[in-house]
Subunit: 562 residues, 2 copies
């Protein structure tokens, strides 16, 4: 008789672990227990099914050639037994059995195991907001939820939707509603959407959302949802006003499902997930946990965290499945890597943001650079804005954020790899990335960003973020704002109160720069501003900073025709 | 008086070095000497200007906002003196002067230097082929060459073009000619085009080229070009037949311009480039070399090589410019990273190919994987085929090749970063790449490829490349070819002589697999074939290999409707 493996959870990490164990051990007896009907479906694809981009829900639960991943498929192709519509009730660690109960018949049985793999996932957080149980206040978790959303949003007149929570799901659903021609209001309690990126970068995303017609309300707490006589929500009342709603999505985050593990006496980490070691083992060596229910080790912070992502779940599932059958593998931890499409913008991040580094007390320097993703002469090039974060003490790259219509994700994935290897910004600046005009500039924007960081770390350049500049302006501080672009560019749009001295004239007009005020120079991308800083430094004027990322990365008010 | 810096060469590395030196040292006296009229232009963009994709040649020589990078621009904005149409004749290292001569007036002057930077570039190799001096046998080097090509190709009837050389320039020009609706024949002396990738991967590219109508002739030496009474080539005669030509492009490679350096007694490396250390210093500590004229240090081989690429030239120029003014920087070497668009396919590579590793005597294992670049359910996903190479002794990733219509370049750049960091395939398999359905599968194809390599290194899987299988078939060897796809897929196209046993039926029909023959299993991507191998292994049948990359990566003949 082979080793008996029971897997609890049939969406991502669970089936992956089971399939890996099967490939390594043809004799193992493998059982997956899943409380719902469907298993091994692409949960991350749900917003795209709701929007109609993915036409058929079946596509989310089939193999690439269209075979449904149902219990029959698992039995026939993988020799894995699936008990779906079956709830795991408890774990008896003494006798090594899982007690399960059929959702339909209520029948209870005990499944003996040699190795148990917990892949119980995560569920949406339920905030204690009055009105949250009104009929049209929904959550997005399962395929059935997606079916409901899709039916409602694809009506001839799409209802106006209020989305509570500006995180990943909230943002993806915003796009889905707009695709369905619905009006959307996003309400976020924090000062900006997407808390995993810095305020200046998030402001650019918010601006893009407003540009396509989304109402974005930040720093607003939802006080209550008001319903009508049919117990349907009609208004969402927040600390920053009330918003009409035909449908409300509650997406304020998810929480790992750990009750089974906790009841069995397994250690639950401070992050709320099941504590695991690098072999994905819980505090019981015969019980593994993988996917959203398991705590992650964050490589850069050096602490545990909770990050529910399908990519991580699959890798952890593979490691757990390997180890369960004695093929030893380790999982090295995560970087908090995140990707998100926001209409025609791409948003990615990994490592630490400046805000996160500040909270952890890590001294950092950041650089924001804006540039086309391909040479300016190559048709179809699109801008991207990258923010790189380096640790001051050792020059290591420890954070990346990217937004914009251009190919952000290539640069983010390269930075992720560099961070996994603990590269310094000097290493990154000399990466021999593959170059041809259809793909990048000769000096790729990521290389350029690393060089800006090197210049800052070497004390050659001082920069100020758009948010810092805007705060100074709001506080009425005395700043000399120097626009070194051409008169045409200045005319088309500039930061209010700027003085125009085109770069080509700066050597001869350096005398116009005040030496007793704080001077901030900018151009479209701050490349010319950097030239300008050096020109002025050559004339002994060293009180000039650049605006990080330049006018391309400026999300606040502008003036035209001055 | 500031330090005197003379830079010889005004295209890529030279202007970069000069600009960097200027930014670091406002007092330096910097002079660029350039023999041609134009400087600081995007040489890599010439094929796209010829095809008409880039409309105006001016775009290749302006800043992103359209300012021409002419001597006036360099003087005004960068305070750099440019002597264009000026040839460097010799270097007098004793007195530290460069002798230069005006192309127009013949006037000679001596430029004293404290630091000299050589950025003399590379020129096309002139093979000793009879007829190479006929009037319409052209090379592509400068903007003026591109003007000529463009004028000729954009005539109402584009002439038929024979391109001699299937390297990067040859391939880019192939596309340019097809864009102009011309007929093209590419003649390559080696067994396949793109010698920097392996034969199996190159065969896929050749197949794609033939699919769009290009005639590809490999393993053919050009014997002569035959001219008409006007001394125009009309036929290119090769060892594999003769081809009519209205225009011939000679592009059999480039060679570094080192005569100035050699005449000055500087060491020229075995690769033919000027020998430099990691500070880009030549054997004279006051003379630097950067860009195509300088020898590169190849990180993985650990030897010197010659690789003319604009991306490397820019980075080296920056390092040389920094060091020339005393701001010490190092250049860590290159990986042979290359990117190329071939019609609607993307081609990238870095590190060592299997062929290169074999020539160097390094034992390697490779894996070829084919998969969509995004989830199969996400509209617009496109296939990519990756070949990963790992060193057997230490499991390090030492080579990547990618081809296909999907987003190849992101994966190649990630692999480049991993190779720069000397990561093992185990490290690569657990990279926390940013995931969302618009960008990748939860298990990205690169992660998948690394896992296949791990399985092979762990002895769990044996693979055979398309080329090896095709050679066995050609030699008439006895192989049992097992197609584990669905009957529909098999019907649509299969490798001749395959036996169909769909994966779902394999457990019950395992008895049909011969145990005394070599068995090769395949499916679309070889993912199901791998499942099949493990199913059969579970039944004691262990003589089954998979076809690396599956049917998607099979470039040879197929049968339909069997």
């Amino acid at each position: 008789m082979g080793i008996r493996i029971v897997v609890i959870g049939g969406v991502a990490a669970g089936p992956k672990a089971a399939a890996r164990a099967r490939r390594l051990d043809p004799d193992a007896e493998i059982t997956i227990v899943e409380k719902d009907e469907l298993l091994s479906y692409a949960g991350c694809g749900l917003p795209y099914y709701i929007s109609g981009l993915v036409q058929d829900r079946r596509q989310l639960m089939t193999t690439p050639i269209g075979v449904l991943r149902d219990p029959k498929f698992f039995a026939q192709v993988k020799d894995i037994r699936v008990l779906n519509r079956t709830k795991a009730v408890s774990i008896d660690r003494e006798v090594k059995e899982v007690v399960v109960e059929s959702v339909d018949s209520g029948e209870v049985q005990r499944l003996p195991y040699d190795k148990l793999i917990l892949a119980t996932g995560a569920d949406p957080v339920e905030p204690p907001i009055p009105g949250k149980d009104l009929q049209n206040v929904w959550r997005l978790k399962q395929v059935e939820d997606a079916d409901r959303f899709r039916a409602k949003l694809q009506q001839p007149v799409c209802p106006s939707v209020v989305i509570i929570g500006g995180g990943l799901i909230g943002m993806e659903m915003t796009e889905a509603v707009v695709e369905c021609k619905g009006a959307v209001t996003v309400v976020e309690m924090l000062p900006h959407v997407l808390p995993m990126i810095d305020a200046d970068m998030a402001s650019l995303v918010e601006k893009h959302m407003r540009d396509v017609g989304v109402t974005v309300v930040t720093g607003a707490r939802v006080e209550r949802m008001e319903g009508n006589e049919n117990a349907e929500a009609v208004r969402v009342v927040t600390t920053k006003g009330a918003f009409d709603a035909g449908l409300v999505l509650l997406s304020v985050g998810v929480r790992p499902n750990v009750s089974l593990a906790r009841d069995a006496g397994l250690l639950i980490g401070a992050s709320g997930g099941i504590h695991v070691n690098e072999y994905m083992q819980t505090t019981d060596r015969d019980i593994y946990a993988a996917g959203d229910c398991a705590e992650k080790s964050c490589s850069i912070r050096g602490t545990e965290c909770f990050l529910p992502l399908g990519s991580v779940a699959n890798k952890e599932g593979r490691v757990a499945g390997s180890n369960a059958v004695g093929h030893i593998e380790r999982f090295p931890g995560v970087l908090g890597s995140t990707a998100l499409k926001v209409f025609d913008w791409n948003v990615g991040r990994a490592g630490l943001s400046v805000e996160q580094a500040r909270d952890l007390g890590i001294p950092v320097i950041s650089a924001t650079v804006a540039a086309p993703d391909r040479p300016h002469y190559y048709p179809g090039n699109k801008p991207i804005i990258l923010k790189l974060v380096a640790e001051k003490s050792n020059r290591r790259l420890i954070g990346i954020q990217g937004v914009g219509p251009g190919d952000v994700m290539k640069r983010v994935d390269v930075a992720i790899t560099a961070m996994a290897a603990r590269m310094t910004v000097d290493d990154v600046a000399n990466l021999d990335l593959a170059y041809a005009p259809p793909y990048s500039e000769a000096m790729d924007v990521l290389i350029h960003g690393a060089n800006v960081l090197r210049n800052k770390l070497d004390g050659l350049m001082k920069g100020i973020t758009s948010l810092e500049l805007q705060s100074m302006r709001t506080r009425g501080e005395d700043i000399f704002l120097l626009d070194v672009r051409s008169p045409d560019e200045h005319q088309m749009g500039a930061i209010p109160g700027s003085t125009l001295i085109p770069l080509g004239a700066l050597r001869s007009r350096a005398g116009e720069i005040p030496r007793d005020r704080r001077v901030v120079a900018y151009c479209k991308t701050s490349l010319r501003a950097w030239e300008g800083v050096r020109i002025l430094a050559g004339q002994g004027i060293d009180n000039v900073e650049i605006l990080d990322g330049g006018f391309l990365a400026w999300p606040y008010e502008t003036v035209h025709g001055v």
